[in-house]
Amino acid sequence: MPWLSDQDLEALALTLRLAATVTLLLLALGLPLAWWLTHTRSRWRKPVAALVALPIVLPPTVLGFYLLLWLGPQGAVGRAMTALGLQTLPFTFAGLVVASMLYSLPFVVQPLHDAFGAIGRRPLEVAACLGAGPFDRFVSVALPLALPGVLTASALGFAHTVGEFGVVLMIGGNIPGQTRVASTQIYDYVQSGNYAHAHLLSLSLLLIAFLALLAISLLRTRRSAHD
């Protein structure tokens, strides 16, 4: 039985770093977005909601392909970045973050949207009458009441990024320590017939994920004991 190689550990660490970064950024983006979607009366609501949901249907490889074209030196975004003296995003950690965010956005926004919707207007009205402004209400009432939804969103976002493969494959370039994550590493093992290593790394990934999910599930139960 082999043991996890340094490369494996590196890939695992990178995976976790990527997933954590993406999850945090997605929450930072998704919370206000879902909130806005729940409460706005703007006529942009439906188009924006559909737009946010779109990445779900795009196969990750397709999404990755278009990102490669757009973010690359010939693409619109890439040209702009080059003009600004910035490095283009493909084959960088930042690029993985951007792509994974795009890819996982709907899986974070959707549960948040549902959770915010389920709160109803009453607690927010009560908070307003107790002197809480909009942002205050969001933080002190909406967030805690939507906690199960926030946890679900985090879990889905995190897990989805850990399991991310197609996008990473397309714009990652498999650079050790930078863009070679656990999923691509396992794939490489499988491809080269190195099943023992593949099994081991898969198992590690599963274990980590299981622990993370268990932790979240415990948080949920503690919270739902309040109902």
């Binding site: 009205e125 009560v126 908070a127 307003a128 107790l130 009432v141």
Partner: protein, 362 residues
């Protein structure tokens, strides 16, 4: 009444099958009660005053502040109106303990030092509940927590939507007493929605009668309740509200002697000291009329009155007799049989007999 420092509202709001069109002028102090049948628009009024219904058009001015003017496109959001709104179903935050709920408005009001929180907590009997989750409260407990939470927010205007309807008689009595004390000490005006007569008579300074989205009558409690033309829903409430001065205490008998313009009354002693002004309500149904001053009867109070008018009551067997004792109007509800047997008619002098115990519970 066009008191520039009170609450002046002109509310107009249509939604499927219900039109609200109400003009309110409420005094800057004391309790204004909105009274009306189920579905008459009481809650809708409160919500509009609180700014929770942006779809409601019109104008709302509170003191110097213009809260809403649809014509001028002014709309102050609820959290800037310094409200204490107790909603019909308590509306406690499920994610906070009772203490956490109380703290919510208090912190946002900047932890006002002048609030005696302990006193309020004890007055409303919620001390034991502080660490509890709100899901583990009974209906009445929730309502009490909601009241204290609203008071903790140090509001400039209190809006109460049937805050006592979930309470038992004992708890209600205690709370009513505390609400009475509060409004005497806090100087915070209160708009109070209820359909309980005793709350009207005990708390209201000002009364607004709502019917199908319109204010059919409004004015001071005394002036409004002694009218003979009120809708049937108010008949039980009818009567006189007398304000008089405590002139003596009969300590051994626990009675207080109160004089007013039209005579003297003995009533069960309350906390009021000699020299203080107290309010007591004489319900129309508690008044017995007789032609001679009764003797050897257990009814302690006899007032000499003159009949000013006779009107219909809600049951054909009965009528309402309006009386004057000094400057004070009284109402008596008696059977038409007695009206005829005693040949009662306007201008006649009669004795109004009132039991002291009937004056007790208020």
């Amino acid at each position: 009444m066009t008191d520039a420092s009170g609450l002046d509202a002109q509310l107009r709001w249509s939604r499927d099958g219900f039109d609200l069109d109400v003009a309110l002028q409420l005094p800057p102090r004391g309790v204004s009660v909105l009274f009306g049948a189920s579905g008459s628009g009481k809650t809708s009024c409160l919500r509009a005053l609180a700014g929770l219904e942006p779809a409601c058009t019109g104008r709302v001015r509170f003191g110097d502040a213009l809260w809403q003017d649809s014509a001028l496109r002014v709309f102050v959001p609820p959290h800037k109106r310094r409200l204490g709104y107790v909603v019909q179903d308590a509306g406690l935050f499920a994610h906070r303990s009772v203490a956490g709920n109380l703290d919510y408005g208090f912190r946002r009001a900047g932890r006002p030092a002048h609030l005696d929180r302990d006193a309020l907590i004890d007055a409303f009997g919620v001390r034991d509940l502080l660490p509890r989750r709100v899901h583990a409260l009974s209906g009445g407990q929730r309502q009490r927590v909601a009241i204290v939470r609203a008071l903790f927010a140090d509001p400039a205007l209190l809006l109460f939507d049937e805050p006592l309807s979930a309470l038992d008689a004992g708890a209600r009595d205690t709370l009513l007493g505390h609400l009475e004390t509060l409004h005497a000490t806090l100087a915070t005006p209160m708009v109070y929605v209820t359909h309980a007569i005793d709350e009207v008579t005990r708390l209201a300074d000002h009364l607004v009668l709502l019917d199908a989205g319109r204010a059919v009558a409004q004015g001071s409690l005394q002036a409004t309740l002694a009218r003979l033309d009120l809708p049937p829903s108010l008949v039980e409430a009818m009567g006189a509200v007398i304000e008089g001065e405590v002139v003596r205490h009969h300590a051994d008998e626990h009675l207080a002697e109160v004089t007013f313009d039209g005579g003297t009354l003995l009533l069960p002693r309350r906390r009021a000291a000699v020299g203080q002004t107290v309010r007591c309500r004489i319900g129309a149904r508690d008044v017995v009329l007789s032609l001679t001053p009764p003797s050897d009867s257990s009814a302690l109070n006899h007032l000499r009155c003159r009949i000013t008018a006779v009107g219909d009551a809600d049951h054909p067997s009965q009528c309402l007799v309006q009386l004057r004792a000094g400057n004070q109007l009284l109402l008596a509800r008696i059977t038409r049989r007695s009206l005829h047997a005693l040949a009662l008619q306007p201008d006649r002098e009669v004795w109004a007999q009132v039991k002291a115990v009937a004056l007790g519970g208020q």
